[in-house]
Each structure stands twice: as structure tokens, then as C-alpha cells.
């Protein structure tokens, strides 16, 4: 097998822990540190890198150059930004609720980092190995809502308040399609354990065959995204994930053209930076879980393990940047309507499709199920989507229009 990087890392960890065999208390501490510290550092670094990536990517999409003054290609820009943020005055509004104003960014950061701990970064590489990791992930992820609302409420600013209200409404609504589209995967793999979900996306018989070509494709073709329900589920999941992570086109809580910066309006300096970081890390976490659920997690040809996971996670993040560079934002009522009237029914339907697919696979073999699934299952989903959007559309919304040109 070729996930040697993961094994080496695990070995290194075990070796380090083994050094303290004689001091059980210290050993526990070391164990804890080993689980959390590298993760924290790596994801902080990834945050810095991704702000650079986002600025650069957006700039290129918009035909600009982007940061290019600090370091080569502006790579040290995040550092400069960090220093700037640290040196800025921390302004707390006079009449704000000081305690909660201070607590909100912390409250946002803690669950973001915990969520990252549940990601199966590689074969056996998981900071918080747990049998119900996926469930915990969603549970912890929903804590965000409280922090954002805290920020919005304690700032005593009307824009912040509006932003906070929007955040609560949005995050609670999108949690449901998010979880429901993950349910299909959980059903299919029959486990809440992230590692087992990844394993279910590898075609084990091919991997064991010893045939190089088969081994290569066995790492790819099993991904859930190639199955009809997985593809649809991935779309629902990704859309809901965008909303969960406050990314465009669902960045309503901080819609700058409407409510300035929403819950962030009254934050400055390092608190703002922490908010920013927490949001990026949540975005990573949710991209990571999407990778785990639909894109085969760390499985991949040649160098399976950590590298593939990182590649996939960053690709999803790049798609988020790309979407941010392209799309306008939805309106608050449309956003809610979209979640409840469109995503939710479809996600439920998707669960049924996944169930039928599962039985079809056992009954008729995987190839027949695959073809039949794409034709019938996807057809059903597509028809349902069309019907739903027709149902939801207000009668006056006519889509394409023709314009007269008169003399």
C-alpha cells in the first residue's frame, strides 16, 4: 500500500509517546499535545495560505494582480496582515455588552478547531478518533450560530443585529439539508466512523487484486460522487456547506453591500482577525468533511493519504473562491425558501434514491446498478428539482425575456 506518509507520521507519534512510558501523567499530556498542536499549527498555516490564495485567485478572476509586494508572489502577505491586525487598536463600542463582545470570537474559534479534529486526514490520522465522528462534527459545527449571534447582539449596532438574525436563520435552516445529504452516505456505508466511510469508497476487491491498473482505479472509482445519489448529494451538501460557512453566494450575515459587515461591523484589530480565521477554518472543516463523505477522503492513486486529502480539500476551497468571484448574493427570504422548499425535499428524496441504489447493487451487481442509477435515479432527482423550482417560482418570475427595439 502506498499511504506510507500517514504510517510514518503515526509511527513518529507513537515513538514520541513511547518516550514517556515511565511517566503516565506526562504521557497523557504529550498525547494530547501531539493530537492538537500540529493540527492547530497546520490549520493556522493553511489559513494564512488560503487568505493569500483567495486574494490572489479573486484578483486574477477580476483581472488584477493581487498581493505581490510582501515576499515573492506576495506570499508573506498573510504575515503582514497578521502584524497589522495585531497592532491595530481594538475598538469596543461604548454601549456594547463587553463580555459577550469579547467572548464571541473565542466562541467561534473553539468549535472551528474542534471540528477540524474530526477530519480523517489520512489512514489512521485523526486527531480525535471516535466512532461517531461525523455526528460530532455536525453537532460542534452548529455551535457557530451562537457565536455569530452573540457578536451581532452584543455589538449594539443595528447592522450587527440584522447580521446576527440573518446568521441564525440561515445556519439553522441549512443545517438540515446539510445533515440529510450526509445521511445518504452514512446509510450507504453503514457507519458514522469517518475512517470507515472513506474505506467504503475504495473498491476493496480491486485493491487486493495486485493488478496495478486495478489498484489505481480502485482508489478513484468508488468515490460516492460518481454515483447518482452521491453526485446529487454532493451538490446539496456543497450548497448547504457554503451557507454554513457563510461563503458567497450565501454570505448574507456579512453582506457588505446591504448591512456593511453584519455581525463583524463593530469588530476591529485582532478580534476581527480571529473571526476571520475561525470562518476560514470552518470553511476548511466543511470542505474536509465533504471530501470525506463524497470525494473518497484520503483515498487516491499513487500517494494515498494526507497529500490527497489536502489536495482535495484545497480544490474544494478553490471552488469556493471561484464561486465567490462569480456569483451575486441571494436575498434573505429567497435563501430560506431555497433551503426549505428546494434543498430539503430533494435531500430527503435523495435518501430514498440511495436506499434503492444500495439494494439494486446487491440485487443486480454494481455495474447494472450504476447504469440504472444514473438513468433512473438521477432522472427522478432532476425531474423533482425541475418540478420543485416550478412550484416555488412566483408566477411573475419569467426568467428569460425578450426586449423590443423600437424606432
Amino acid at each position: 500500500m502506498n499511504n506510507f506518509i500517514d504510517y510514518k507520521l503515526i509511527e513518529l507519534g507513537q515513538w514520541t509517546v513511547g518516550l514517556f512510558n515511565d511517566y503516565p501523567v506526562v504521557q497523557i499530556l504529550v498525547h494530547l499535545l501531539l493530537a492538537t498542536l500540529p493540527l492547530t499549527l497546520v490549520f493556522m498555516g493553511a489559513f494564512g495560505f488560503s487568505t493569500w490564495l483567495e486574494r490572489k485567485g479573486l484578483a486574477r478572476i477580476q483581472n488584477r494582480l493581487g498581493p505581490n509586494r510582501v515576499g515573492i508572489f506576495g506570499l508573506l502577505q498573510p504575515l503582514a496582515d497578521g502584524i497589522k491586525m495585531l497592532l491595530k487598536e481594538d475598538i469596543v463600542p461604548d454601549r456594547s455588552d463587553k463580555l459577550f463582545h469579547f467572548l464571541a470570537p473565542v466562541m467561534l474559534m473553539v468549535p472551528a478547531f474542534i471540528a477540524v479534529g474530526f477530519l480523517p486526514l489520512g489512514d489512521g490520522l485523526m486527531a480525535l478518533p471516535m466512532d461517531s465522528a461525523i455526528l460530532f462534527f455536525f453537532a460542534v459545527g452548529s455551535l457557530n450560530t451562537i457565536a455569530v449571534f452573540m457578536a451581532g447582539w452584543s455589538s449594539r449596532n443595528k447592522y450587527s443585529l440584522l447580521g446576527g438574525m440573518r446568521a441564525v436563520a440561515q445556519m439553522i435552516s441549512y443545517e438540515i439539508p446539510l445533515v440529510l445529504s450526509a445521511v445518504a452516505v452514512i446509510m450507504f456505508s453503514g457507519s458514522l466512523n469517518a475512517q470507515e466511510i472513506v474505506a467504503s469508497q475504495q473498491i476493496q476487491s480491486w485493491l487486493a487484486s495486485g493488478n496495478l491498473v486495478k489498484e489505481f482505479f480502485g482508489q478513484i472509482l468508488g468515490w460516492h460522487i460518481f454515483k447518482p445519489w452521491g453526485f446529487a448529494g454532493f451538490i446539496f451538501f456543497f450548497v448547504a456547506a457554503l451557507a454554513e460557512a457563510n461563503r458567497s453566494p450565501f454570505d448574507l450575515p456579512e453582506a457588505d453591500s446591504e448591512i456593511i459587515a453584519g455581525h463583524l461591523t463593530e469588530y476591529s484589530g485582532f478580534k476581527y482577525a480571529i473571526f476571520f480565521m475561525a470562518e476560514y477554518i470552518s470553511a476548511f472543516a466543511i470542505a474536509g468533511i465533504a471530501t470525506t463523505l463524497f470525494l473518497g477522503g484520503w483515498s487516491g492513486p499513487v500517494i494515498a493519504g494526507l497529500p490527497w486529502f489536502i489536495i482535495k480539500m484545497f480544490s474544494l476551497f478553490a471552488v469556493m473562491i471561484w464561486i465567490r468571484g462569480t456569483l451575486p448574493r441571494l436575498r434573505v427570504d429567497q435563501l430560506m425558501g431555497y433551503a426549505w422548499k428546494f434543498l430539503l425535499p430533494l435531500a430527503i428524496l435523495n435518501i430514498f434514491v440511495a436506499g434503492f441504489y444500495y439494494f439494486a447493487e446487491q440485487q443486480f451487481g454494481s455495474l447494472a446498478a450504476f447504469i440504472g442509477g444514473w438513468v433512473i435515479g438521477f432522472g427522478i432527482l432532476q425531474t423533482a428539482a425541475k418540478g420543485l423550482s416550478r412550484l416555488n417560482k412566483s408566477p411573475t418570475l419569467d426568467g428569460k425575456r425578450v426586449y423590443q427595439l423600437v424606432e
Binding site: 479573486l58 478572476i61 477580476q62 483581472n63 488584477r64 443595528k158 447592522y159 443585529l161 440584522l162 440573518r166 458567497s248 453566494p249 454570505d251 453582506a255 457588505d256 453591500s257 446591504e258 448591512i259 456593511i260 465567490r324 468571484g325 462569480t326 456569483l327 451575486p328 448574493r329 441571494l330 436575498r331 434573505v332 427570504d333 429567497q334 425558501g337 412566483s394 411573475t396 418570475l397 419569467d398 426568467g399 428569460k400 425575456r401 426586449y403 423590443q404 427595439l405 423600437v406 424606432e407
Partner: protein, 377 residues
Amino acid sequence: MPARGYHLSKDELGADILEVAMGPHHPSTHGVFRMDLKLDGETVVDLKPIFGYLHRNHEKLAEDIPYLGCMPFTDRLDYLCGMTNNWAFALSAEQLIEIEIPERAQYIRVICAELTRLINHCLLVGFFINDLGALGTPLLYALREREKILDLFETLSGARMMVNYMRFGGVRCDLPDGWLQECERIVGRFPAFLDEYETLLKDNEIVITRSQNVGVLTQEEATNFSITGPMLRASGVNYDIRKVDKYGIYDRFDFKVPIGAHGDCYDRFMVRMLEMRESIKILKQAIADIPEGPIMGNEPRVFKPDPQETYGRIESPKGELGFYLIADGTTNPYRYKVRPPSFVNLTALRHMCIGHKVADAVIILGSIDIVLGEVDR
């Protein structure tokens, strides 16, 4: 007003009205403009537009300055469209002194005005989509194209925005060598940009759901508010001063006027997109036909028109831009009044916004196309 779904009123909820002062420094009020919103949840129940933060005493100032001295000030009215402002003022002052404008100057004026229309409309679309929440991408594409036209203006008049180019009886200086060829090249490439822009925005589902049936202004309401320009045409009224007055030499060109049927934000956006294509048509004809010859009638720099009053108007990119002048026999105007399209179009804001969400108020304001320099004067 279209149904906007069921929603609990504030009395049912026992809630209060939230008053938000949006502006004067808010990211999307297009300058120092303030909207005092009364919100029920996110729904606008009342809106009070407040402006005057940019008042510069423009009209009174002009009474102490000779006619020609007012010309550079008109650039600053709608600072995106210096050329058309110049033309409107030149047109009304020319009516005072009845002066013949040479053929070539007429053509140059048309070319400049239509280039200005391109600038204004592509920027407006960019800002409008920006208000919709796109992260400035369409806006930056618009700026990219605008830059080329501004470069043209710079070689022509020396300045990019504050052009101060037109004079009574013609234009200040002749086209530099190679300017027309460059202009032709840029105009020839503009449709490609418009195609790109349309693919990016026209069919975008989010743009459609956000802007269709938002801020509807019916034909009747639009005429009652004396709306002009693309906004009026989006409401389905065929009224374009280029066609109605045929000022300058607009009767020589073959172009059409796009008309919308719904009068909502989407129509306003699309009418502008289509108008740009018509402008390109005019530009192509003008560049092909422009004759050689003088560019100025011989008019003294300072003149004393007989006591009279006059009103000259043109179709500026934003609507009817008019200058009302009263001459009293001295070198300065006795009264100088601007009819700014932005200001008049803004009067319909409250009517259009009530009942919509906050986010819609922002895009409705964006679709009106205001420039605060013109609103406040």
C-alpha cells in the same frame, strides 16, 4: 404589489419597528446619500431619502462666472459623464447666441457622447451587480473596458474625467492623429466585451431571482414621477430625447431604442445592456461619416447675450439632462438651473422600495443610476 409570501406583522409579533440610517457612509449608497429606513424585520415599511451632503453651490456659483467659466464646473455634476454634461450646457448656451456649429464638431460631439454612454452604462451594470452582492468581478471588468475609453478621452482633451472639452460653437481642439483609428478599434472590440458580460450576468439564476419583479415602476407611475432615460424606457415608455428632439445630428444615424415591458430592476439592467449595443451602432456610423473641416464656429470667448431665457436638454446616459438659463444682457447668466436626471429619478425611490427587503432597497437604488454629484449639485 406582488405577493411576498406570508409574514407576521409587527403587531402579531409584538415587535417594534427598527429604524436604520443607511448612509451617508455606507458601502452601497453610491456616494454620500442617506436612506432613513424603517424596518419591520427585514422589510422596508418606510424610507426617507436624505441628500445634500455633497452640495457645492453649483447653481449659485455659476451666476458669478462668465458662461464659458461654467463649462468646467459641469464636468463635476455627473462626474462619470463629463462629455454629455458639457454638451448639454453648450447646447443651451448656444441657443442664447444662435451660433452655427461646424459639421465636424457635431460629429465629434456625437462620438464623445456615445462613448460616454458606453462608460456610464457598463459601470452602472457593474455597480448594480456589485449591489446584488457579487464581489466586484463584473464591476472590475467594466472598469477594465472603461479605462480604454478614458484613455481616448485623455488623448483628446487632456483629462480622463473632467474633460472640459466642448465650447460654444464647437469643441476645444481637433482630434489628434490616429485618434479615430484607435477609437474605431476600441469600439470594434466592445461587442465582444458585451457578449462576455451578458454570458456572465444575463441568464444567471441568482441575478434573475434577485432582480425580476423588484422595484416595479409601471408606465403610468414612471411618467407621473417624470422619470427619464433608461429607467423610463425600462417601464415601457418609448421616449428618447435623441429621437424626440433630434438635437445635434442624431437624425442622421440609424439606431433603435430598447424598451422594457416590466419596469423592474432586471429590465433596467437589460435596457442598458441593449442601449450599449445601439450606441456602438451610432459610433460606427459616426466614425465612418465624420468629415474634415473646422471644429469651432467663430465665437468670442466672452459674450453678452440679449435678455432671454432658454432650456436646452439632451439625453444624457442617465436621462434628460437640461440646463435652464436666463440671460440678462451681461456676461454672466442671471439664473442657471440644472435639471439633473439622477435627482428626478431618485424621487421614485421610496415608492419602489416600500414592501421590499433591505437588500432590495440597495439594488433598487443601484438600478436608478444616481451620481451624487448630480443629485446635490
